[in-house]
């Protein structure tokens, strides 16, 4: 039984690629066979986040156009068995691929015996988005708790449902717990109430993500990382286990810190 999951958001820069990489690695750690597909043709990025940028020979467009076999284009991850990347083409544009071709590609990946095929969708609602969702069985919508990102997420949810991808699930990324506690950021309930979809996970804003991305090693394998823990929880939920949402309580702030804060106002 294999499943094609598209990671989408509408707005750029909210963490689609980071989420794709972390979920892919997280599933592979647990022994699943995973194909990560970078559908952002022309703006290839999943390869650098995964640290596999030096291994690319063929890409998605080469496969679709028949310049190589699917197996030749799939790059094996250096850390985890069973994890493969199909990189996007860097020198072509979104029109190089059609939704029908993407559907066919997803079918072929299923036949290769992957348990999960994770598609990293480009930002926007144009051709690249339509391509990325064409072969998907389900969709995860990534957003941050900001008005622009949530508004775009709402639009994307509408478009997903119009295209038969019902019940997309939400990943709320880069939540600043300190800001939420001060009331200066929308909280989890605000966002889920507005978007009216089920939440799959909440990833706190975490510098370990920046560090992990710098190194090309997804944070999900870092046991110290809070964001990594959030991704591990999401992976468990994808596999059908019930995992409680991690406590998002901030470390208690010292009296002195509070005094300093007080004088800043």
């Amino acid at each position: 039984m294999s499943e094609v999951i598209v990671i989408t958001s509408g707005k750029g820069g909210v963490g689609k690629t980071t989420t794709s990489a972390n979920l892919g690695c997280g599933l592979a750690v647990l022994g699943k066979r995973v194909a990560l597909v970078d559908a952002d043709i022309g703006l290839r990025n999943l390869d650098v986040v995964m640290g596999l940028e030096n291994r690319i020979v063929y890409d998605l467009v080469d496969v679709v156009e028949g310049n190589c076999r699917l197996k030749q284009a799939l790059i094996k991850d250096k850390r985890y068995d069973g994890l493969f990347l199909l990189p996007a083409a860097q020198t072509r544009d979104k029109d190089a691929v059609s939704p029908e071709q993407m559907q066919k590609l997803c079918e072929n990946l299923k036949e290769e015996g992957f348990d999960f095929i994770i598609i990293d969708c480009p930002a926007g609602i144009e051709q690249g988005f339509k391509n990325a969702i064409a072969g998907a069985d389900r969709a995860f919508v990534v957003t941050t708790p900001e008005v622009s990102a949530v508004r775009d997420a709402d639009r994307i949810i509408g478009l997903l449902e119009a295209n038969g991808l019902n019940n997309p699930m939400l990943i709320l990324n880069r939540l600043r717990i300190d800001l939420v506690q001060r009331g200066e950021m929308m909280n989890i309930e605000d966002v889920t109430e507005i978007l009216a979809i089920d939440i799959l996970g909440v990833v706190p804003d975490d510098e370990t993500i920046v560090i992990a991305t710098n190194k090309g090693e997804p944070a999900v394998s870092n046991l110290e990382s809070r964001a990594g823990q959030a991704y591990r929880n999401i992976v468990q939920r994808i596999l059908g286990q019930e995992v409680p949402f991690m406590s998002l309580e901030e470390e208690p702030v010292s009296f002195f810190e509070k005094l300093k804060e007080l004088f800043r106002h």
Partner: protein
């Protein structure tokens, strides 16, 4: 509410709830794909039609798109809300 919040400025609401309320409003319009221009045109037309039958207070007229709980499922659905104060009925001739 902790001890320190007592000293902070209280007159402005925290920006998180401002964001939430602004978003709710903007999404109501986004979802029904109705711009403020369209709403203004609709308002003009409604005044035109109703004025055939009754004299209304155009100043106090209030038309907006809001949300209400759907009866079928648990979600919300957009509704067109219009509050049109009547000054007097026109005499109908037939």
């Amino acid at each position: 509410m902790d001890f320190f919040s007592f000293f902070k400025k209280k007159n402005t609401p925290a920006s998180g709830s401002v964001a939430r309320d602004r978003l709710k409003l903007v999404l109501v319009h986004d979802r029904v794909n109705c711009s403020s221009q369209v709403l203004e045109m609709l308002k003009t037309d409604i005044i035109k039609v109703i004025s055939n039958y009754m004299e209304i207070d155009e100043e106090e007229l209030d038309i907006q798109i809001t949300q209400t709980q759907s009866e079928e499922n648990n979600g919300t659905v957009p509704v067109l809300y219009a509050n049109i104060p009547i000054k007097s009925m026109r005499k109908m001739q037939d």
